[in-house]
């Protein structure tokens, strides 16, 4: 069972704000889903490697050469904040 305190912590990690009511609703949903996925405990996975990706590709590389994107202005235009010196102005982080 995920406690409300734990859920508040998770929400903070995920940068999601919730009201009291929303927290309750998501708490119910999450507990139902986590109970469901717990059936995996029954599966014997000793000596079974993990699959993070199915292609089997490894170390796909390219030449370390700069390729100019060319549309920096178009990218900056997507930002809904003030632009200064080709940068997006945001509140201080630290």
């Amino acid at each position: 069972m995920i406690s409300t305190k734990e859920l508040e912590h998770i929400a903070r990690l995920a940068r999601l704000n919730f009201t009291e009511k929303e927290l309750e609703k998501f708490s119910r949903d999450l507990n139902e889903i986590i109970s469901f996925v717990q059936k995996l405990e029954k599966v014997d996975t000793r000596d079974v490697p993990e699959t993070s990706q199915v292609t089997g590709l490894q170390n796909v590389s390219r030449k370390d050469e700069v390729v100019i994107f060319g549309s920096e202005d178009a990218l900056l235009e997507c930002a809904p904040h003030e632009i200064e010196n080709h940068s997006i102005k945001i509140p201080k982080i630290m």
Partner: protein, 478 residues
């Protein structure tokens, strides 16, 4: 001549032979949209003026004998998660409701280079999270066969657009069944490609080890035509492979006789609709008539597919959704601190299902739970993949139901978990990275709802499953 009910292959032929212009074809689809789109809501954006321009350009190319491909001049709809430069791309989410991409996603670039006409961007569950197109922030899409029912999801808009004769073909994405289940619900053909077959560059990601992009259209042949254009390695997507791209159209007519097709016994769970079962049995008989050998096989870890998926997918989602922080794109909600901007943007901009999955993902990846859930799920994923690898040593393809029932009523799923179980037969294919096609095969007796069947094949063997689907489709037509 009746235009919008024709297949992509037929329209392509008529266009190239000069019997129909691309403009005529495009206007016919736009007229159909004008008539029925209000009730169906397949689109977030209909690009009518642009479509006309593109159609005129295609007609000019035909006149000059400079046609770009067999898809030249054909109106195609794109799921609204594929970036289209200069054209609003929203992922059916409020957080991107005015986002205009500064570049084309690779799938779209290849289709553009092939000369297609963009008819519109289709509705999807928000950020492709859902199995019914009910979580879209811009309204629910309705199944053209019965407006009270879901077209499936998350590519419900694309499937509905094909079924409603709004386009010659469409592009969708499939992470847990999001092309195949809508194809089944709407009575169209939908192809989930092998992971790594089609570039994901410029398509908004949901779960990066599971996402695939593929075609929906009336027939397997139509899907093969679209696949031919979009398949292949892309230097921008390092998960695409060097696997050669075969002549998918050329391989369609090869014989099914001599193929061995497995039917996995674990797919016959309690609660499958009897009409879905009956359609499966009819198709089994058709394949036998065509000379294929049918064999019962076992995929022992099938029941763990959905729980594995609902650990791995939300985990990857929680990482992929972190970029929606209200800074580089979004609505510009302000705040005194950076946390306020994040919190407000994500609270206002993201819907409940998205938030739910971010929470699950963040939880199972967090300290103390990572081993019990995420690592465990990745190990069971290996077992599920091994089940398929083992079975494909003895069979060329698998025949299964696509989902337990035909299209359900909009609003009928009472909990998230109920909705998650919709994808019980499609999810294993994504976990294993193999290919799967759903082809329309029958209908429910009482309500006359479409019913499809699913054919799985080993990774990078799309030509085999398209061939089988093609023969099944032709057998049903006669």
């Amino acid at each position: 001549m009746e235009i919008t009910t024709k297949t992509l292959a037929e329209l392509s032929r008529l266009f190239r032979e000069g019997k129909l212009s691309s403009r005529e074809i495009t206007e016919a689809f736009l007229a159909e949209i004008a008539k029925k789109e209000k009730k169906i809501h397949a689109f977030v954006t209909v690009t009518d003026d642009l479509a006309r321009e593109m159609a005129d350009a295609a007609d000019a190319r035909r006149k000059n004998k400079t046609l770009l491909s067999p898809l030249d001049g054909m109106p195609i709809a794109l799921k609204d998660v594929v970036c289209t430069k200069g054209i609003k791309t929203t992922a059916s989410s409020n957080i991107l409701k005015n986002f205009i991409p500064p570049y084309d996603g690779e799938v779209w670039r290849r289709l553009l280079d092939a000369g297609v006409v963009l008819i519109g961007k289709t509705n999807t569950d928000e950020f492709t999270m859902g199995s019914s197109t009910e979580t879209s922030a811009f309204g629910v899409t309705h199944n053209p066969h019965d407006l009270t029912r879901s077209p499936g999801g998350s590519s419900g808009g694309s499937a509905a657009a094909v079924a409603a004769n709004f386009c010659a073909g469409a592009i969708g994405t499939d992470t847990g069944g999001s092309i195949r289940q809508p194809a089944h619900f709407c009575g169209v053909t939908g192809l989930k490609v092998s992971y790594g077959r089609v570039s994901r560059w410029g398509t908004m990601p949901m779960a990066s080890s599971l996402d695939t992009i593929g075609p929906l259209a009336k027939t397997p042949e139509d899907c093969a035509m679209i696949l031919q254009v979009i398949a292949g390695r892309d230097v921008h997507d390092s998960t695409t492979t060097d696997a050669p791209v075969p002549d998918y159209i050329g391989e369609l007519e090869k014989s099914v006789s001599g193929m061995t097709i497995g039917i996995p016994k674990e797919y016959f769970i309690e609660g499958i609709d009897p009409d879905v079962l009956e359609t499966m049995n009819s198709m089994k008989a058709v394949l036998e008539d065509l000379g294929a050998t049918i064999k019962e096989v076992s995929l022992p870890h099938t029941e763990y597919g959905v729980p594995v998926y609902y650990i791995i997918a939300p985990s990857e989602i929680s990482a992929n959704m972190a970029r929606y922080d209200g800074l580089r794109f979004g609505e510009g909600l302000q705040g005194k601190t950076i946390e306020e901007i994040y919190g407000a943007s994500r609270h206002e901009g993201l819907g409940d299902e998205v938030k739910r999955r971010i929470l699950i993902g963040t939880y199972v990846l967090s300290a103390g739970y990572y081993d019990a859930y995420y690592r465990k799920a990745q190990k069971v994923r290996t077992l599920i993949k091994q089940d398929f690898d083992n079975v494909f040593e003895h069979v060329d393809a698998l025949l299964t139901p696509p989902s337990p029932t035909p299209a359900f009523k909009i609003g009928s799923k009472s909990s998230p978990l109920q909705m998650y179980l919709e994808d019980i037969f499609t999810i294993p294919g994504n976990l294993a990275g193999i290919c799967g096609v759903v082809v329309p095969a029958g209908e429910s007796k009482k309500e006359k709802l479409p019913i499809g069947v699913q054919i799985f094949g080993p990774a990078f063997k799309e030509e085999n499953i398209l061939c089988i689907a093609h023969h099944l489709y032709q057998a049903i037509q006669t």
